[in-house]
Symmetry: C2
């Protein structure tokens, strides 16, 4: 399997997640989570983006936003946005998202997630790129909202990615930023192997 | 110079930028650009984040948002957010941002930017990490809003980073996602060198 061909889905989990007091809650949908994460998902050719929320009112809200950009004025004004949001689907549960993937791919996905702590099945990003090539997919990469997914859900994962570290001890990336960085580390061009430049060969040099 | 010690500032340019018809405009401030990019900047220990906007009404809007999170209820409710927004400063022009940096650092910053096209002074991310170590800073990394910075502003840059490529041809990351990915490529831990894990040595393993 080539990294270009890996079938990776992502899911944004709104329930069950912790709040800052470590109580289990459902978080609200944030408009820019839909847009930004869809655009990142499309850039990294993610096979599908599931917004996982158990409440019907929140599911309807996502549906209304999607309709504006898929069929309403938004679709005409910004077709790039429509292309990105096309891969977004709302499900009530993780199980429902997995069933959709299984229906499409003929196999249940292996689950990858992230956490601020390390576990026995924690893996680095380089190692996960190698897993993608060595193992059969499909894959479902989960991001938690709020203060992270409930522990029981974490423990269902086949692989848990190491936390993303920058410089220093501050570690409060938005889920939009974290999703972008993690997709880049897992599926991005191998820029780290040298002065790799996709467009240099494809586009003419200006200036 | 060690990569840990590099003095990098970032700037979000609202004017002069292009709209989709390649007219030069000023874009509006987006609330989550302030929050998300401040949080990413703090994670990667960026020395300062300049929001560059020539219009006083937009400057005031940023000021009001900042006051809520720095002094209002937001500061009490979410001190992590205050810590992130502390490094945000509004300036009217790029020149004003450069003057603030020069005042603080004793040197004018070298300018880095990004573009969808490649130029004679285009560099890869690996190469830029090496420049950081080899050359004296400080540095100012600029992100354009809208459909990108005006060409004259681009040409003032000392280095122009290659575009970020994922998989496939879709290339419409949000500026929040692009900023996160670029900071990770330039200043993030060297995860690509193997199964590098900062917290593994620092925190106890659970499970």
């Amino acid at each position: 399997m080539n990294l270009q061909d890996v079938r990776l889905y992502i899911g944004l989990v709104h329930y069950p997640v912790y709040n800052k007091r470590m109580q289990v809650i459902a978080t609200s949908v944030t408009n820019l989570d839909l847009h930004d994460i869809s655009r990142s998902a499309t850039t990294y050719d993610v096979a599908g983006y599931f917004v996982i929320h158990p409440h019907q009112a929140q599911q309807r809200l996502v549906g209304e936003i999607l309709r504006y950009w898929m069929e309403g004025y938004g679709a005409e004004y910004n077709p790039d946005r429509r292309e990105a949001l096309e891969r977004l689907k709302v499900t009530a549960t993780l199980e429902e998202a997995m069933a959709v993937i299984e229906e499409k791919e003929g196999r249940r996905p292996k689950i990858i997630t992230t956490d601020a702590r390390t576990y026995d099945n924690s893996v680095g990003y380089r190692q996960m790129r190698e897993r993608f090539v060595a193992e059969e997919g499909p894959w479902l990469l989960l991001f938690g909202t709020g203060f992270g997914m409930e522990r029981e859900m974490m423990l269902q994962a086949d692989y848990i990615l190491y936390p993303v570290w920058g410089r220093g001890s501050y570690n409060h990336l938005s889920v939009r930023a974290a999703a972008a960085i993690i997709l880049d580390r897992l599926l991005g061009e191998p820029w780290f192997e040298g002065d790799f430049c996709v467009p240099c060969s494809a586009t003419e040099s200006s200036e």
